[in-house]
């Protein structure tokens, strides 16, 4: 006999409710994704058309965001880059020496640090430090009704609040990732030197330059810039795009972090295709 909704057993009804919840979640995710894309497109449009509008107000905001999300993170990125270099080389040098494959140190550094973990780690640090504070700051601005106040004065909130953050975070992740890569490569060599690995600095640089392809530079720049843009767009969207109450700020901050990490990892996976087929 065919079951109808009305004669379902308790177990069946539970399963139906589960499927309904899953369906609702999928629709919710698609809805958020669509709004995020629309928000990103609006931001891009505003950046292109209004970059030089009211520049005496907006450009200093870009610099102050670069200071907050970039310059202030330099010591932390430097420290992590140094530790990172030591760990990667520390883990691999012994292994490669055993195999007599010391000549691959440069290749491993390029693959692991330049292509993968350098940009990813930098993005995650910037997300933790600047992305979260973005959501809290903008969420509070939204919850206190300052967005409506901006609009009432003819000030475009996307131009005033979002554009400076997107530009600053994109530039910051690119510059910080570059800095992290240099520090990690430098500290990697120091570790190799301390361990008496028979590798001169000139050879080390030679290995690095042989391992690097021109696509690495392009993809590195593109990847890090996009990581920064993702963090900025997702954090600004959750902070600003919807009406918000003060008590909701912590919830949307957590949501923004999860979505940013997911988007960054997915984009990273897409870039892998670029390296494989490039």
């Amino acid at each position: 006999m065919m079951k109808t909704i009305s004669n379902l057993t308790g177990e069946d009804a539970g399963a139906v409710a589960g499927v309904e919840r899953l369906g609702a979640q999928i629709f919710d995710t698609i809805g958020v994704l669509r709004e995020l894309v629309a928000f990103a497109v609006i931001t891009l449009g505003v950046t292109i058309t209004k970059f030089n509008v009211s520049k005496r107000v907006v450009h200093p905001l870009i610099f102050s965001q670069i200071w907050n999300a970039g310059v202030r993170l330099l010591p932390m990125i430097g420290f992590i880059g140094a530790i990172f270099g030591l760990l990667i080389v520390g883990q691999t040098v012994g292994l490669l020496t055993k195999l007599g494959a010391e000549g691959y140190i440069g290749t491993i550094m390029v693959t692991v640090i330049v292509r993968e973990l350098g940009p990813l780690l930098t993005a995650l640090i910037v997300l933790a430090r600047a992305g979260t504070s973005n959501v809290v700051e903008l969420g509070t601005i939204r919850a206190l009704g300052e967005v409506e106040a901006l609009e009432s004065l003819g000030i475009d909130p996307v131009h005033y609040l979002v554009m400076p953050r997107v530009i600053a975070l994109s530039l910051s992740v690119f510059c910080l990732a570059t800095y992290l890569v240099f520090v990690a490569i430098g500290s990697g060599y120091i570790f190799a030197f301390i361990q008496d690995v028979p590798l001169t600095f000139a050879n080390y640089l030679d290995q690095l330059s042989n391992a690097l392809r021109w696509e690495d530079f392009v993809l590195f720049a593109l990847k890090t810039t996009l990581f920064g843009a993702i963090i900025a767009v997702v954090s600004c969207y959750h902070g600003l795009a919807r009406p918000l109450r003060v008590e909701e700020v912590s919830r949307v901050t957590a949501r923004a972090v999860v979505e940013s990490v997911t988007a960054i990892v997915l984009l990273d996976a897409l870039f892998l295709l670029g390296y494989v087929f490039g």
């Binding site: 009211s54 107000v57 300052e146 409506e148 609009e151 009432s152 004065l153 003819g154 009406p243």
Partner: protein, 264 residues
Amino acid sequence: MADATTKTKSDSIAIELAGVQVTHYEDRSDTVVVRDVNWRIGSGEFWVVGGRPSSGKSSLLLTAAGLSRPVGGTLRIFGEDFNHAREQDRVAWCHRIGFVFGQSGRLFSHLTVARNIALPLQYRHGGEENEIAARVEELLTQTDLRDYASFMPSRLGLGVQQRVALARALASPVEVLFLDNPLSTLSLRESRWWLDFLRQLHKNRLMDGKPLAIVASADDFRGWIGVASQFAVVEGGQFRVIGGREQVEAAAEPVVRELLMNEI
């Protein structure tokens, strides 16, 4: 001749609402809170819209100011249809319409008092810093805020914050000034300051030949009698014009008696 008459008449109407459906401005749903609003705000008029708390007065003012989209009817701002306006038109309205939000005035919490007032000027004109500083100084003096110029909003009481919002809204030579329940959180002394200031501002602008329309919402008509020239109420989702002082004082409707605090 007929054309000239029509033009003069339409020029004197700053904002016109015809059958407008007002939604709650923070609610994403299209639930109508005030229905079928027919209202003409003429240049140089002084309106007070009364109603009980949460009756939809704020949403009505935000809609009339072009800050919240009406879901039905026609809203004309300076003769232009809201629904057919381009972004530039809406930005241009913002320069001609001032809006003072209720309670704390929604100041920018990361800027000092002086920078709150200067921001719209800097953003709009990008003019000489000296000119902007002089204008800010003038506004600070007019609103008795000179002592607070370098303060952050969080250090100020609600009454002072609202006064900063007033100065910020007046930074441009606005033609219509909306005030969302400005007296609700003020002491008697501060309320007196506001009423005197608005009366003087309205009178001076009329004398200058650049009339300023003022539209305020209120939970209580008493202070506004003798200051405002037109009164209206929002009750049960309906907007109704009462008229001038005489009509208000003679009105028998319970809501108007309540707003005059005669029967509570």
